[in-house]
């Protein structure tokens, strides 16, 4: 578990984060979502001491990170950022092996593990000897994820990792993250400004306003069903047409067409015999929740 207690961070005269407290449960995905200025990246970087709080504490499993040497701390926490931040002068396989090599794992062993990780993130091994500049943006991000996983960290920090890749590749990468998280049970703290991405990935979603003020936290279902205030309602889009769906009269057969408030068809829903089946919708079935992104405005 990661715990922020009354954390404040100032840069000069301005507050980046003010009196922020949050518990991040282990072995789950927690998404910090907010627009720029919400301090989400600053908060993320406090976990691996890229940023030290001006006051307050950040603890990992009860241990104050301020008491841990930053370099050692960072080597046991995976980190993925938006521009993949790969080392342009190192081949893919050596980029992935970065942290194990830093901690003294033998080159051959680290490289063998790196090749395995390429399988894990869905990157063909034929790319192993390429340089990052020879890969597409999506491929670079896969390398970035593999690199972050290489030391087998308990915690993975992801700072808008898929913000710069195209929507189709992004959807693919998001599924990879969910799959990898399910397999490794890593604690993931994910920062994004994209509410759809937050709802797709997050077991817990924390909506931040200016200076790290938590406006609402909870499961995607809780937030969507009961937005705390107008800000959240507007942020998640439930005040606009996007998420308020109605059954179109034009549906036929056993499926009914769903339209948004603007009248655009966004999907179909099973309605055997023309009747909607109410009930056992599993809140964990995430596979459809990203389909609301059709307008591409998120």
């Amino acid at each position: 578990m990661i715990e922020f207690t009354d954390v404040t961070k100032t840069f000069g005269d301005s507050y980046a984060v003010e009196h922020f407290s949050l518990q991040i449960p282990a072995r789950q995905v927690t998404v910090l979502v907010g627009s720029s200025g919400s301090g989400k990246t600053t908060l993320l970087r406090m976990i691996n001491r890229m940023v030290d709080p001006s006051s307050g504490t950040v603890e990992i499993d009860g241990e104050d990170v301020a008491a841990v040497a930053p370099v050692a701390l960072r080597r046991r926490i995976g980190y993925v950022m938006q521009s993949s931040g790969l080392l342009p002068h190192r081949r893919v396989v050596d980029n992935i092996a970065t942290v194990p090599r830093l901690t003294g794992v033998a080159k051959e062993k680290a490289r063998a593990r790196a090749l395995e990780l390429m399988d894990v993130v869905g990157l063909d091994r034929s790319f192993a000897l390429r340089f990052p500049g020879e890969l597409s943006g999506g491929q670079q991000q896969r390398v970035g994820v593999a690199r972050a996983l290489a030391a087998g960290p308990n915690i993975l920090l992801m700072d808008e990792p898929f913000g710069a890749v195209d929507p189709i590749v992004r959807a693919d990468l998001q599924q990879e993250v969910l799959r990898i998280q399910a397999e490794t049970e890593t604690t993931i703290v994910f920062v994004t400004h994209d509410i759809d991405e937050a709802f797709l990935l997050g077991d817990q979603v924390v909506i931040l306003a200016e200076r790290g003020r938590i406006v609402q936290q909870g499961t995607p279902e809780e937030i969507l069903a009961n937005p705390a205030d107008d800000f959240v309602a507007s942020f998640v889009g439930s005040d606009r047409g996007k998420r308020r769906l109605t059954v179109s009269a034009s549906g036929s057969g056993d499926d009914q067409v769903l339209v948004d408030a603007g009248g655009y068809p966004v999907g179909v829903i099973a309605a055997p015999g023309g009747k909607l089946a109410i009930g056992n919708a599993s809140p964990k079935s995430r596979s459809v929740s990203n389909k609301t992104d059709q307008a591409g405005d998120a």
Binding site: V71, P88, F131, G133, E134
Partner: protein, 229 residues
């Protein structure tokens, strides 16, 4: 040309001396500019001071420096150490701005990401920042190399200076062929140094030349097989 064949040993000997006396300052200038450039990048207020000081050094005429240095270093006026020190100062001065630019050219994202992976400050410098500054360092070093090779000729006026002696001698006799031979061999030497640097760069930085083909280039290649390399 007959003069060249008759004096080949002399010309080759002077070329070797020229190579030695110019290679040394190039290496010293490169090595000295690294810590200076590193400091200049790390300490903003020192950056301006360092760059100004070395710009000023660069404006001192070479001949004046050759004459002044023996007094400072305690060497004899004809000692070739004077030449090496003077050219090293020029090389450092020329190289320093390039080194600063080189270190500054490394993407902040890459540096931050290296820190986030757990590089310590020093290992980040040696394993990330320095190699990534490489292409800019190399570009500047090539300029320093060529200009040091050509500047060394001036030292002929104080007794060393390698191929420069063909200029002073050819001028005094006067014998134009000797001067032309001097120029040709100076140029050849500069080209040789440059080729060595380029090859070193390719060996040490194989990553810097590989870039994915631009969509336009790929497209052209696909419709013009064999025409666009």
């Amino acid at each position: 040309m007959t003069w060249l064949w008759n004096n080949l040993d002399l010309v080759l000997g002077l070329t070797a001396e020229h190579a030695r006396l110019s290679a040394l300052p190039i290496l010293v200038g490169f090595a000295a500019s690294l810590p200076l450039g590193w400091v200049a990048v790390r300490v903003p207020w020192l950056r301006g001071i360092l760059l100004t000081v070395f710009n000023l050094i660069y404006t001192i005429p070479a001949l004046a420096l050759f004459v002044v240095l023996p007094g400072i270093l305690g060497t004899k006026i004809l000692d070739e150490l004077n030449v090496v020190v003077a050219l090293s100062l020029y090389a450092t001065a020329m190289m320093l701005r390039g080194t600063v630019d080189g270190f500054a050219s490394v993407s902040g994202d890459v540096l931050q990401s290296a820190t986030a992976q757990g590089y310590s400050g020093t290992s980040r410098f040696w394993k990330v920042q320095l190699p990534l500054a490489g292409p800019v360092l190399l570009a500047n070093l090539r300029v320093v190399s060529v200009s040091t090779v050509s500047l060394l000729s001036v030292a002929a006026l104080i007794g060393s200076g390698g191929l420069g002696r063909l200029f002073t001698e050819g001028y005094n006799r006067p014998f134009i062929d000797e001067i032309v031979i001097g120029i040709v061999f100076t140029v050849l030497l500069a080209l040789l140094f440059d080729a060595i640097l380029v090859i070193l760069g390719r060996l040490l930085m194989p990553w810097s030349r590989r870039r994915p083909a631009s969509p336009r280039a790929s497209f052209l290649r696909s419709i013009l097989p064999g025409r666009v390399a």
